[in-house]
């Protein structure tokens, strides 16, 4: 049975439908990421669960109890905010102790628990520092310890790493996951960083415009995106528009043999989704083989073990990731043949206009 349920949540701000029917069921001890572009309603959903805001319709149920109308200070939820949420007049230790003090816990127990938690987040040595004496990453560790101190029923994190620099971000997200698994605490994690979501979650829910576009395991989300939006948002994806014809999909004057096209009616408008790492690239040598698109390399982006090539030709616009060693022999300007896989490419039916993917939001925008 689900431990945390968000049932058909609706929340409007004036004419903005911040949440438009959110349904989530999460088992006890599971980690779910809410992933989506800026303004899609992630924070709104989390605030409803924490009780800082009330839904216009729908319910929040934890362990069979309906909490929708319970005050935030009676919910036993642990929340970690984006930044600057530590009480500035208290040391790290006092911050972590706050919830226990409010609950009237015995002094000796309190000290023990606070010390344990500070150790858990690797800050035993900084217990007596004030927040302004801690780095951003350390502050977020304290905030995590503070949220965990009260043994919350659910842990809520709203982009807790977005104000940190890249290296600390990766390190801390792994630590959050380790601690979450250790304690077996049910966790809702909000982020707009797909890599972050895929790397630490049991489940990922991609949101767009106040709705959940798709929910599944990180592997499912990556390999089987259900909508063009998810396809674009998770990882990098080639999206080739085409028409189903006998034996494949017609795109840029070429018939692509795509297995998935065989079940589709002829004439249907579809999107062929191809991951860049599945595209084979080699020098173009006259005759065009199966599933081959020809164009020129226009940019090379070094990504470490692979290099990303952008290939433009007549009606052709493809991104391919090739081993960096191989990319050296395909400098910008080279005429190349890009071979798409017959298997593994997915088809999506083009029903409506594709939603636009917004740019990455500025880090601190809320």
């Amino acid at each position: 049975m689900a431990y945390l349920e968000l049932q058909n949540l609706h929340r409007d701000f004036g004419t903005v439908k911040a949440l438009d029917g959110i349904e989530i069921e999460l088992g006890e001890g599971e980690f779910l990421s809410l992933l989506g572009p800026s303004g899609c309603g992630k924070t709104t959903a989390l605030r409803l669960v924490a009780g800082f805001d009330r839904p216009d319709a729908g319910a929040i149920v934890v362990d069979g109890k309906n909490l929708t109308n319970v005050a935030p200070n009676k919910r036993d939820m642990g929340m970690v905010f984006q930044a600057y949420s530590l009480f500035p007049n208290m040391t790290a230790r006092q911050n972590v102790e706050y919830g226990l003090r409010i609950r009237g816990k015995d002094r000796a127990d309190r000290r023990k628990r606070v010390s344990d938690l500070l150790e858990l987040v690797g800050l035993g040595h900084a217990a007596d520092r004030y927040p302004h004496q801690l780095s951003g990453g350390m502050q977020q560790r304290v905030a995590l310890a503070r949220a965990l101190a009260i043994e919350p029923r659910v842990l809520l994190l709203d982009e807790p790493l977005s104000a940190l620099d890249a290296k600390v971000r990766v390190q801390l997200r792994e630590e959050i996951r380790r601690i979450q698994l250790d304690l077996g605490i049910t966790t809702l994690y909000v982020t707009h960083d797909q890599e972050e979501a895929l790397s630490v979650s049991d489940h990922v829910a991609v949101m767009y415009g106040g709705r959940i576009e798709q929910m599944g395991s990180p592997a499912e989300m990556y390999s089987a995106p259900a909508t063009p939006f998810v396809a674009e948002f998770i990882g990098t994806m080639n999206r080739l528009e085409g028409t189903v014809v006998d034996g494949g999909v017609e795109h840029a004057g070429t018939t692509l043999r795509i297995e998935a096209a065989q079940e589709r009616p002829r004439g249907e408008r579809v999107l062929v989704l191809v991951r860049p790492e599945t595209v084979e690239v080699g020098p173009a040598n006259g005759g065009s083989g199966v599933n081959t698109l020809v164009g020129n390399v226009v940019t090379q982006t070094f990504l470490g073990p692979v290099t990303r090539l952008k290939i433009l030709g007549e009606g052709v616009d493809v991104i391919a990731d090739v081993p960096t060693q191989k990319a050296l022999s395909l400098p910008v300007g080279t005429r190349v043949a890009a071979v798409l896989p017959a298997e593994g490419a997915r088809l999506l039916v083009l029903k409506e206009d594709l939603p636009q993917i917004p740019e990455e939001p500025a880090s601190a925008s809320r």
């Binding site: 924490a50 009780g51 800082f52 005050a71 935030p72 200070n73 009676k74 919910r75 036993d76 939820m77 642990g78 929340m79 905010f81 600057y84 949420s85 530590l86 009480f87 500035p88 007049n89 208290m90 040391t91 706050y98 919830g99 003090r101 409010i102 609950r103 004030y130 302004h132 905030a143 503070r146 949220a147 101190a149 009260i150």
Partner: protein, 285 residues
């Protein structure tokens, strides 16, 4: 190198008017007060003026000034804090906030004879409010012990600028109380009261103390409002005014000693204030 030096000397020249002004109208008068306080009529040095301050009526005038300043600073400070918080908190319409800050900006600088006149016209023995209470509500404030000419009356008039000054000074600090702190506190199980008790007030305390000392100084040095309401009020500034203008007794050295006494009172206030402030702000940078 050369041009750097030339620019530097130009910067110095540009500040000269400011320094000249400060020396002429701040340091010189202060020095003359300081020296004059320890002189007698025969231009010899003596402590007799200072000694006189500890006797009736001077010591009473200091007491009156200190009490009036403390009471109006404390009441104005606390009431101003609550009003500012009520106006600035989330959920209060924007226009209330902007109206209040604009009004406070004006009112905090409204004082002296015009303010005295406004109070006499409204709360004096024949003021419109006094008469309104008497005739319409059948409540005679005079018979119930209120007199605008008393210390209470003057204090009430002082509230007119003390309260807005508090609002102006404390508003930025209240804006600095982050929503995240309130939410984190609630999230950890605390009530509103507990939040203010453990987080809100401690965080604001350095600003509150600073604002209250400012209000104290503001009231302590005020002269014209009190003079306009009651030129015989038992306040040290009124005594000094009377002596300087010479219509009671022309003894400038005693007046200088009284002014020196005011410096001392303010210095003592600062000596009390600084450690309190340091304690309240020990968690800050």
């Amino acid at each position: 190198m050369r041009s750097g030096r030339r620019r530097l000397s130009f910067a110095w020249i540009a500040t000269l008017p400011f320094f000249a002004y400060t020396i002429l109208f701040l340091f010189l008068p202060a020095a003359s007060v300081l020296i004059g306080a320890f002189q007698n009529d025969k231009s010899g040095y003596s402590l007799s003026n200072i000694r006189t301050l500890f006797h009736h009526p001077y010591i009473d005038a200091y007491e009156g000034s200190i009490k009036l300043s403390l009471v109006t600073a404390a009441i104005g400070g606390i009431a101003g804090l609550f009003i500012a918080y009520a106006a600035l908190r989330e959920g209060t319409p924007k226009w209330i906030r902007s109206t209040l800050t604009t009004f406070s900006g004006v009112a905090a600088n409204f004082g002296g004879i015009p303010l005295a006149f406004a109070f006499i016209a409204s709360l004096g023995p024949l003021g419109v409010l006094t008469l309104f209470f008497k005739n319409q509500l059948h409540f005679d404030i005079t018979a119930h012990g209120f007199s605008l000419f008393s210390m209470t009356g003057i204090g009430l008039a002082y509230m007119y600028f003390q309260l807005p000054l508090m609002i102006l000074v404390i508003a930025p600090a209240i804006d600095g109380v982050r929503k995240e702190w309130r939410e984190a506190s609630a999230n950890l199980g605390a009530s509103q009261f507990q939040f203010w008790r453990y987080v809100g007030i401690p965080v604001l305390m350095p600003s509150i103390l600073g604002a209250i000392i400012l209000l104290f100084g503001n009231a302590f040095a005020a002269y014209a409002t009190a003079y306009g309401i009651n030129s015989g009020a038992n306040l040290i500034t009124i005594f000094i005014g009377a002596y300087y203008s010479g219509n009671v007794l022309n003894n400038p050295h005693l007046a200088q000693a009284m002014a020196f006494g005011m410096f001392v009172v303010l210095a003592v206030m600062m000596i009390v204030y600084i450690p309190l402030q340091r304690r309240a702000a020990r968690w800050a940078k």
